[in-house]
């Protein structure tokens, strides 16, 4: 299934909770959630661990808005809104970790 996280990993526990509950699958970072996709932060290693269990995507327009487009952690795939739709279509269900 698809898990969607829209909160900064530096201010919210949402991403933590998501990856602790979900066994794996697709994980899409949107809105302030994309800060977790940026390399060189204290959440960097945490995200690299997540990549071992999840296919991780980040919404490109949200990365660009926040000036992060050039700092994506290796292995995270940027997607546009069409890619977001494809991710939802290709998974039976999705859960937004609000």
């Amino acid at each position: 299934m698809l898990h969607i996280v829209n909160k900064s990993p530096f201010s919210s526990q949402a991403l933590d909770s998501c990856v602790q509950v979900a066994p794996g699958g697709d994980l899409l970072l949107i809105e302030d959630g994309v800060y977790a996709a940026s390399s060189g932060t204290v959440a960097d290693n945490f995200m690299r661990d997540i990549l071992k269990r999840f296919r991780v995507f980040a919404l490109g327009p949200d990365l660009e808005a926040r000036g992060l487009a050039d700092r994506l952690i290796d292995g995270i795939t940027p997607v546009d809104y069409a890619g977001f739709v494809d991710l939802v279509a290709r998974n039976k269900t999705c859960q937004s970790w609000l």
Partner: protein, 119 residues
């Protein structure tokens, strides 16, 4: 494929309604169908026809109305949440209709996918 969309936050304060709108546009562009967009919690504030954002900002309410007009998307505002927050027929923007929570459950049953946008 049929998509149901749930919007839980109002316009401008949170990005949720922006993301939901851009997602809806992409759903249609990909050739899918939108069964319904349901506005719940503060999401009902997306339906206020009285909003008047600055000239250089996007008009979130008008965008939704246009989506309804051009693509026949069903925009449903939860009546209970709307009454709590002061959204009624008299300030409802074009393209929106006010109805019960059953419309959300129906979207869950009828649509192939249900996606929630919130805070």
């Amino acid at each position: 494929m049929k998509f149901g969309i749930l919007v839980n936050e109002g316009p401008y304060q949170h990005q949720a309604s922006d993301t939901a709108y851009l997602f809806c546009k992409a759903v249609l562009a990909q050739g899918h169908e939108i069964f319904r967009v349901f506005f719940y919690h503060d999401g009902v504030n997306n339906a206020s026809r009285l909003t008047e954002p600055p000239q250089d900002d996007r008009n979130i309410v008008a965008r939704w109305s246009k989506l309804a007009e051009e693509h026949g998307v069903d925009l449903v505002v939860c009546v209970a949440a709307a009454l709590r927050r002061g959204i009624k027929d008299e300030n409802l923007a074009p393209g929106f209709r006010i109805s019960g929570l059953g419309q959300l459950v129906e979207a869950g049953i009828q649509a192939d996918r249900l996606v929630t946008f919130g805070d």
